[in-house]
């Protein structure tokens, strides 16, 4: 585990939301960001990219965020990587479900791109201190 949050993977199918997220985390936050348009793409690239934290959309065609999370967890080196769900499906019972699946935090859409880097940083800090 790095001392500082540097590498992020973001999985999002909507191109416009992808653009906003990229601007927020790469341009504003200065993180090293790998953006995937689908679950399979993430499963293929993430082990090599080896991020400090993974951000997942839930509603995606083909393979949804939950399935993607399960598959990523099956990869040993990603088994403990903190995962954040960023979704428009963020009603109380849905959040409970994501947390039960092992999510570190849920960020509801729409989100504020200017605040996103700090938010992600805090979450990472919390997860790291918990693991330590």
């Amino acid at each position: 585990m790095s001392e500082k949050l540097e590498r992020l993977t973001c999985v999002e199918d909507d191109p416009d939301i992808r653009s906003i997220t990229e601007f927020a985390l790469r341009d504003l936050g200065g993180f090293t960001l790998d953006v995937c348009a689908s679950g399979p793409e993430a499963i293929e690239r993430t082990p090599d990219f080896n991020p400090d934290l993974i951000i997942l959309d839930v509603m995606m065609p083909g393979m949804d965020g939950i399935e993607t999370l399960k598959r990523l967890r099956e990869i040993p080196k990603l088994a403990k990587t903190p995962v954040v769900f960023m979704t428009a499906k963020a009603m109380k019972h849905e959040i409970d479900r994501y947390m039960a699946l092992g999510a570190e935090e849920v960020i509801p859409k729409p989100f504020d791109p200017l605040m996103l880097p700090d938010r992600v940083g805090e979450i990472w800090q919390r997860a790291t201190s918990k693991q330590a």
Binding site: I17, I20, D64, A88, P110, D112, L114
Partner: protein
């Protein structure tokens, strides 16, 4: 024996009567003097002996039983005295025992007369003695004969003549007695017949129910009394009388009021007719026929001491009269008829009262039955009505016992259906229901039972939602005026389903609205931060992004509005004559704009060219736009889509053909249902609330057209719609609302492109 009629006349004969009873002595004297004898009388034997010695009568007629000297002693004294022994002695004896006879014979009596005797017998004996006087006196005393009788010795010195006389006398006596017996027997038979007739009458009256029956029966019965030739009966009628019955051989003149009453009626009116009377001169009999006897017997008929009528009888005697004995017997008929009349009157009054009461009761029963029938019918109607409602209905009495319930109520207590019958206690139902798992807890407690019963008893009419055995119900309980409780249970499964669907719909809508909102909000936030102020190209991209997603948002909102209108029945068309071909060309052209558009080919078969039809052009565009958007969604970049228009028999068919993955079989049935998407999980390829096809279907139905598809997985899908030719569909008055919706949708720039696609 000499014939008594040829004997000497009695004129010179003197007869001595010896009799201690002065009355009988006087009767005898009267009889004998009447027959021409000279009569002497003595009260006892002593006196007689003195008179006999002094007056020398021809014959002594002596009683036997007398004081001082009885008849036998007198006879013995006479026969022992030579001076008077020639006097004939007749002993009048009761002949109660043979000793009397022998005593008389011993005493030397010349003749005997047995009591009771006929007067003629006495006269003939006296005359006989007088006639045979010489003969008797010439006779020598014969030697006595000793006779043993009943342990007593009698010495009879009487001559043969004496004994013969005694035998003759006895024989005559017997003959006389026999004659009397026969008369008595005849009389007895007559009396018997009379009594039988009276008895029959008395018995027969019991069956008479009216005065007329009594009268008729009385005269017929009277006729069966021996020697009654005719009978008729008058009953008092106002001031006069009416003839109520007539039987037998008599003619009667009708005695109406004008002719006045006849003798018998006058007597009854005057209170003179108290018993059975012989009425000598009867006007009605005389007036009727000269052959009638002139009199009759009148018998008063008394009721409560008042004469109410009379029974008149005539006998078969020429004068119509009856003997005193007969009249006595007949008197009883009057009493019988009187009683019968009283009974009949009472009976008539009673029957009338009974009939009246019966009529009243029948009327009451009729009214009551009508009321009962009406009540029954009303009850039936009510029960039918209760039975026919879908809701569960139950009525409990004040003691919480089930009185009535419908099948709906039983259905809602499915687990304990057999227990739900009138007579069951509410508490028992609750307990049984909870035991069967109707309640939330696995093992129900008495506390739960108590709570439910308490809620039930409160019965304040507040609706309660409850889940019984997995079934959602709304329960309302209310007190009736009688203190019972009416329970109404409504199955709210559909409401509950709708409730859940609404929640799901809201969740879906919320997500669908948030998805385009995210880039809008994000883009605007970045622009506002000024972080891209120096990058015009980036700034432009962000503005485009905001506009594009706003259009997407608008499209979703429009779909929602359309759907709401369709659901609430406020959906209508704004029809006009349209040129379908040019309309379709426009839609297709719009779809060709945008990044990486597919190749869309529009083919119109010759007969369909230039056809105009009546339709809502905006709505038809909406349908084709939707079908094309769906096709584009499932078509890879550079793929082909065909739009074909062809004229069918009575319709124009527009088909949109893609070569995408096709519609999964399991989804095909639900393709046109609202909120349905082939992939309802979070993995659908394209966003949307799943209303597009549902809206298209409603639009086509409003046009009187149809919509459908054919799809093969892996090969593609053909969606088509058909618009009828020459069909004028309904245009509602709510065009305004629809127009606004249509303007809102189509007033937007065409560049909204594929991003504005509706959900499949």
């Amino acid at each position: 024996m000499p014939d008594p009629t040829t004997l000497n006349s009695a004129e010179d004969a003197t007869v001595l009567i010896v009799e201690d009873s002065p009355t009988q002595a006087e009767q005898l004297r009267w009889l004998l003097e009447d027959s021409g004898f000279t009569v002497l009388a003595a009260r006892d034997g002593q006196e007689a002996l003195e008179i006999a010695r002094a007056k020398r009568p021809s014959v002594i007629v002596s009683d036997v039983m007398m004081p001082k000297m009885d008849g036998n002693e007198l006879c013995l004294a006479v026969k022992s005295d030579p001076a008077i022994k020639s006097i004939g002695v007749i002993l009048v004896t009761a002949l109660s025992s043979p000793h009397d006879v022998f005593k008389g014979l011993e005493a030397g009596a010349d003749n005997f007369l047995v009591k009771p005797y006929q007067e003629e017998q006495l006269i003939s004996r006296i005359r006989y003695l007088l006639a045979t006087e010489t003969e008797r006196n010439a006779r020598q005393h014969e030697t006595g004969i000793e006779i043993q009788l009943a342990g007593k010795r009698h010495l009879i010195t009487s001559g043969r003549q004496q004994i013969l006389d005694l035998l003759i006398s006895t024989y005559e006596q017997a003959v006389g007695l026999n004659e009397q017996l026969e008369i008595r027997q005849r009389e007895l038979a007559q009396s018997n017949k009379t009594l039988n007739a009276l008895y029959d009458l008395a018995g027969g009256f019991n069956h008479c129910r009216t005065e007329e029956e009594v009268a008729g029966f009385a005269v017929k019965g009277a006729l069966s009394i021996p020697s009654v030739r005719a009978a008729w009966l008058y009953l008092r009628d106002g001031d006069g009388y009416r003839l109520a019955g007539l039987a037998g051989n008599v003619e009667l003149k009708d005695m109406d009021a004008s002719s006045g009453n006849c003798a018998c009626q006058r007597m009854l009116d005057g209170g003179e007719l108290t018993g059975t009377e012989h009425i000598q001169q009867c006007e009605c009999l005389k007036a009727a026929s000269p052959g009638n006897p002139c009199g009759h017997v009148g018998i008063p008929l008394m009721v409560d001491g008042a004469g109410v009528g009379l029974l008149n009888l005539i006998s078969d005697n020429p004068d119509g009269s009856f003997s005193a004995d007969q009249r006595r017997m007949l008197a009883s008929i009057g009493i019988q008829i009187g009683d019968a009349l009283q009974r009949a009157r009472f009976q008539e009054v009673l029957e009338e009262k009974v009939a009246e009461r019966t009529r009243q009761l029948e009327a009451e029963i009729g009214t009551r039955r009508q009321a009962e029938d009406a009540a029954d019918a009303a009850k039936e109607r009510l029960l039918d009505a209760i039975q026919s409602i879908n809701d569960g209905f139950a009525l409990y009495d004040a003691a919480d016992t089930l009185l009535v319930c419908n099948s709906g109520y039983r259905d809602m207590h499915f687990a304990i259906k057999d227990l739900v019958v009138p007579g069951v206690k509410f508490e028992d139902l609750v307990r049984a229901g909870l035991d069967c798992g109707d309640g939330p807890a696995v093992s129900p407690s008495e506390m739960q039972v108590d709570a439910r019963v308490a809620q039930h008893r409160q019965a304040d009419g507040t609706p309660t939602i409850l889940n019984r055995g997995g079934r959602w119900l709304m329960l309302t309980e209310r007190r009736t005026r009688e203190g019972g409780i009416v329970a109404i249970e409504t199955d709210i499964a559909e409401l509950k389903k709708a409730d859940i669907a609404k929640d799901e719909f809201l969740a879906k809508v919320s997500h669908e609205l948030r998805t385009p909102l995210t880039p809008i909000h994000g883009a605007l936030a970045i622009i506002k931060s000024g972080k891209v102020a120096d990058q015009p190209e980036k700034l432009n991209d962000l503005v485009d992004m905001a506009i594009r997603n706003s259009a997407r948002l608008m499209s979703i909102v429009n779909d929602l509005l359309d759907f709401t209108r369709i659901s609430s029945g406020r959906f209508s068309l704004e029809s006009g004559v349209i040129d379908l071909q040019s309309l379709l060309e426009q839609v297709v052209e719009n779809k060709r704009i945008g990044p990486n558009p597919p190749t869309i080919t529009l083919t119109v078969t010759p007969p369909a060219k230039g056809i105009k039809l009546e339709a809502d052009s905006n709505r038809i565009q909406q349908v084709l736009d939707n079908l094309l958007s769906n096709a584009i969604k499932f078509t890879d970049c550079g793929g082909h889509i065909e739009v074909d228009v062809e004229k069918r028999k009575k319709a124009l068919r527009v088909s949109v053909v893609d070569h995408g993955p096709g519609i999964p079989k399991e989804f095909q049935d639900r393709a046109f249902e609202a909120f349905s998407q082939a992939d309802s999980s979070s993995t659908r390829r394209q966003g949307g609330v799943g209303l597009g096809l549902s809206i298209c279907k409603s639009i086509m139905e409003a046009h009187g057209g149809t919509i459908g598809f054919a799809s093969k997985e892996g090969e593609g899908t053909t969606f088509y719609f058909e618009l009828p030719l020459g069909h004028r569909h309904r245009v509602s008055g709510k065009e305004q609302q629809c127009n606004e919706g249509a303007r809102a949708r189509h007033g937007k720039p065409a560049s909204s492109g594929r991003r504005a696609a509706l959900g499949a």
